[in-house]
């Protein structure tokens, strides 16, 4: 949900460009929010209230109306303390970790951030803003909640998330206290796989050995479940006996690996070729066959499984831009 930003907030965000705004450069995790990097500015509501109070102050002074002055100073005291409270709400928070599983370009990348805080204060009403997306969370004393923020991706390769803004409007919405987070981190974004790509090429080579299918064959052995394994590979009965998830590992009798070759697709431009190959990596992985990837200046031997798939997609993601690497 997009929340309308008022002028003061836009000013604060724009001012992040200036060199004096802390942090001045990306910083390694964990990121500690100290008091010197917390900024506090009134919100539009706060300014409005301030104008009301100023009017009442002038009126009260002019008429020497003591109850009115008491009222004004009480409200001003409250408002002033709320700035301090907002500051204290952020001070001492620590961003412990930040990671994200790679996604394909165009899909939102779920950043997983884990915060904790020193001291025994509850810190409710926190808001995290990054790349126009925001998440609200609170940080009770002694807990380390994980905040998930799905930021948009547009291009393959390393994604360096922009400044993240951790802010709060508490306790009364008079002021926004915020601090910029610039964790020194780069997140991988796979290339977007081609839609409607032609089927996998047949195994290149002599072709006499039939491509063996993974499924329906005798499992070679059982291994522990790893993230990314398909549910249908899980050996449920064996898992129940062993009290942990086991996955059937099929020995493929394939003689030759499927080779996904960059150079075999000269008709495609740079980026479409990457996307075609990305699609084929996925297809090959899904089919269960062993596959290798040949890229300019890089060859990944045949393999299979989530790690291999990741390695292939990573290699594709990190290929230089068109024109950059051609010589």
């Amino acid at each position: 949900m997009a929340v309308a930003r008022d002028g003061v907030e836009r000013f604060g965000d724009a001012a992040a460009r200036f060199a004096f705004v802390r942090p001045k450069r990306p910083e390694p995790l964990p990121v500690q929010i100290g008091r010197r990097r917390i900024y506090v500015l009134p919100t539009g509501f706060g300014l409005f209230l301030g104008a009301m109070l100023a009017t009442m102050l002038v009126g009260g002074l002019n008429y020497n109306n003591n109850p009115a002055l008491l009222l004004v100073f009480l409200l001003a005291g409250l408002a002033n303390n709320s700035l301090v409270q907002a500051h204290l709400l952020l001070s001492g928070i620590r961003l412990r970790s930040l990671h994200a599983d790679p996604v394909f370009a165009g899909e939102p990348l779920p950043l997983k951030l884990r915060f904790d805080a020193a001291g025994s204060r509850d810190r409710p009403g926190l808001e995290l803003l990054c790349e126009g997306e925001h998440a609200e969370f609170s940080l009770p004393a002694g807990e380390e909640p994980e905040v998930v923020l799905a930021i948009p991706t547009h291009r393959r390769g390393w994604l360096v998330p922009g400044r993240m803004r951790l802010s709060t409007l508490r306790p009364y919405g008079f002021a926004r206290a915020w601090s910029w987070l610039r964790p020194d981190i780069a997140l991988l974004v796979y290339p977007a796989p081609e839609l409607g790509a032609p089927p996998l090429p047949a195994s290149v080579g002599d072709g006499d050995s039939p491509r063996s299918r993974a499924h329906g064959e005798q499992p070679h052995h059982l291994r522990d479940y790893r993230a990314g394994d398909m549910p249908r590979q899980i050996a449920w009965k064996a898992s129940a006996r062993a009290d942990k998830l086991l996955v059937r590992e099929y020995e493929s009798a394939v003689a030759r690996d499927l080779l996904l070759d960059w150079h075999a697709l000269p008709e495609l431009a740079h980026e479409p070729r990457i996307r075609r190959l990305a699609r084929w990596v996925l297809e090959a992985e899904r089919s269960g066959s062993r596959y290798g990837l040949r890229l300019p200046g890089l060859e990944l031997p045949g393999g299979r499984g989530p790690e291999h798939r990741h390695a292939c997609l990573r290699a594709l993601a990190l290929l230089p831009e068109a024109g950059a690497g051609r010589g």
Binding site: Y63, N65, L69, S120, R121
Partner: protein
């Protein structure tokens, strides 16, 4: 990008904001004419239940209607009271268009003006008492609005109370030390409807609301000797002109200097705290030898303030009840003091001239007149109405009345007899407060008496009302009120009297401490540190220091208010872990207490002997569900606290 439609407020938040706005409006609402207040409250209730916005045309219609009502309530005159009523009316209508967060914010902002406006009109305990919950509910509403969802009430209330408490140091610093204006930049707009107090007019034939007004008019404290109660005439405006129906003031009196007085007998010094009246007249003990600080004495010896008394004023004065006038009446003054409307009250005029013809001087005439009053007249506040010849009717047929009738009739009589006479209004008597040793005079203590000019002595006070024989006092105000009270409480004055005194004493202290504070007293604030009259920069400096101190206190409390409220044993264990960490054995997050104790013991065998058993007990209590009695828990906490790691020998 299209304009995003703001999400509507949830019901609870809307109601919290509306409640705050209603509470803010209340101090102002109770000052309005009751029917208008009820009408506005009804509009507010209607808005409360209108969760959906009304069509614009309906809203406009309602606004016009309510605006018309407000104007009608103040008889289509524009004054400060009309503006304040209009403000509270707008506030009561605002909920009709309060449906989004932004609306709620503007509602909450504008509502703060309502208590402010109420204070411009009245600074009494009721307004103050109603403003406090208004602030509290506003705080709750802000908090609710910033959270945007339902929250448990009790912690919210606690947070609100803490927030108000934390705002106090700054409030006090600002209140006492923020530089005040010694002269206002602009005047307070006047009210369209006058307030209680001594008026510019006295109409004997009219009921005077002031006579039943139980609110305080002034509090006076004598510095030194106290005059006898019978001498406590607090002199206010003098009424010189009589048109047959009403006595009015001489507008030229302010331009002439005060007459010279020669003090005689004892003089009395006093200090007055005068409640706001919106008028410029003050009162001074008869006869004033000088003007109060901010006022001047006019030619009729009425103290006139430099500006309308909109706030409580404090002043001191010196009076000599027996002083004599040393000057002479000018012919113009004499003519004025003898003027009577032609063709009125023929019997009174005839009687006066007849007695005068019998050779009586002013003193003899007065004695005779008062004797007549004492014999034939009765005092009652429910005087029967009189006709066109009001004095005739009163003197010769009804013979019932109160101070207005008596003073007016005496003045008419004496003027008819050729003796210069004038009516003086003011306050008489009062109620002595034992707690504060001061006299409280209420509006119902307002009184009217006369002064006659006697050659060689000047103006001499005559109070014809005082001549009424005690047996002939039928019906005083106190009787009336006692009768009203008897219906409710059954004559419990003996019980409530002291309570009332104590209450009024507290109110006086509040007046003294808070309401009467101004630039002058602020300048004297630094006297204890040797600055007699503080300059502006000294005050600014003092304010800076005060605000800084207040801020420091607040910060300290804010940083320390989040005390660890967990179990004492738990706290003791955490303290122990902190100590060990300082000694070089930090505990890993995942490490269970016993494993940790084992590790520390291994690294530091001296400590282990003591550390391990106590850790074992802690671990049992915390994790093995071993129940301990209160004493055992306390003992465990003590052991944990007492544990110190022995300093390693330097071997």
């Amino acid at each position: 990008m299209g304009k995003a439609v703001p999400p509507p407020l949830d019901r609870g938040t809307r109601h919290a904001c509306l409640l705050a706005a209603g509470a803010c409006a209340l101090p102002m609402l109770v000052q309005l004419p009751p029917w208008l207040a009820v009408a506005l409250a009804l509009a507010f209730a209607l808005a409360w239940f209108s969760a959906k916005p009304w069509p614009a045309a309906w809203r406009l219609l309602l606004t016009l209607l309510v605006g018309g009502l407000v104007l009608a309530a103040f008889e289509f005159r524009i004054g400060r009271d009309t503006s304040c009523a209009a403000l509270v009316a707008m506030l009561m209508l605002k909920p009709f268009e309060t449906h989004t967060r932004r609306d709620a914010q503007s509602l909450l902002g504008f509502s703060l003006f309502a208590p402010f406006a109420a204070f411009l009109q009245d600074q009494g305990p009721l307004t103050l008492g109603l403003a406090l919950p208004a602030v509290a509910l506003s705080v709750l509403a802000w908090s609710r609005l910033s959270q945007g969802r339902a929250v448990p009430l009790l912690p919210e209330l606690r947070r609100m109370a803490v927030a108000l408490g934390l705002a106090l140091p700054l409030t006090l610093a600002g209140f006492w030390l923020f530089p005040r204006l010694s002269t206002p930049l602009w005047g307070l707009p006047e009210n369209s409807v006058g307030r209680m107090g001594l008026g510019d007019r006295m109409t004997p034939n009219e009921w005077l609301d002031a006579l039943v007004d139980d609110s305080p008019a002034l509090r006076a404290r004598f510095l030194g000797d106290t005059p006898p109660r019978a001498q406590m005439y607090w002199r206010g405006p003098v009424l010189m002109h009589f048109d047959g129906e009403a006595w009015t003031r001489d507008i030229g009196a302010g331009n002439l200097p005060a007459p010279a007085l020669e003090p005689l007998g004892r003089t009395f010094r006093y200090e007055v705290m005068f409640e706001p009246t919106e008028r410029r007249d003050l009162v001074a003990l008869d006869l004033p030898l000088g003007a109060p600080e901010s006022a001047s004495l006019n030619s009729e010896l009425t103290a006139v303030n430099a500006e309308p008394v909109n706030n409580l004023v404090r002043y001191t004065g010196v009076s000599s009840p027996q002083a004599r006038f040393t000057g002479e009446l000018t012919p113009w003054q004499r003519r004025q003091a003898l003027a009577l409307p032609p063709g009125r009250d023929p019997r009174t005029v005839a009687l006066a001239q007849a007695w005068r013809a019998e050779g009586a001087d002013a003193a003899a005439l007065t004695a005779r007149f008062l004797a007549m009053l004492r014999r034939d007249f009765k005092y009652t506040i429910s005087a029967p109405p009189v006709g066109r010849d009001a004095t005739d009717d009163f003197l010769f047929s009804t013979r019932l009345g109160f101070c207005q009738h008596f003073s007016s009739a005496y003045a008419v009589f004496m003027r008819a007899a050729g003796i210069p006479t004038r009516v003086v209004t003011g306050y008489v008597g009062g109620h002595y407060n034992r707690y504060g040793a001061y006299w409280l005079l209420k509006h119902k203590d307002a009184h009217a008496w006369d002064e006659v000019w006697i050659e060689g002595r000047g103006w001499v006070r005559v109070d014809p009302t005082a001549a009424i024989a005690p047996d002939n006092i039928l019906d005083t105000l106190d009787d009336l009120q006692a009768r009203q009270r008897a219906g409710q409480a059954g004559g419990a004055d003996a019980v409530f009297g002291p309570m009332f005194d104590a209450g009024d004493f507290m109110r006086r202290q509040w007046n003294e401490l808070v309401l009467g504070f101004d630039a002058l007293r602020q300048q004297e604030l630094l006297r204890p540190i040797g600055i007699d009259r503080a300059d502006a920069w000294q005050l600014v400096l003092a304010f800076g220091i005060g605000a800084g101190l207040a801020l420091a206190i607040t910060l300290w409390v804010l940083l320390h208010q989040h005390r660890d409220r967990s179990h004492p044993v738990l706290r003791a264990w955490r303290a122990l872990v902190r100590r060990l960490a300082r000694a070089g054995y930090p505990k890993a997050r995942h490490e269970p207490p016993l494993a940790y104790a084992r590790r520390v013991s291994a690294a530091h065998p001296d400590a282990g002997a003591a550390l391990f058993p106590v850790s074992q007990r802690y671990s049992d209590w915390r994790y093995a569900a071993t129940t301990l009695t209160e004493e055992q828990q306390a003992e465990l906490a003590r052991q944990l606290r007492r544990f110190r790691i022995p300093s390693r020998s330097r071997s």
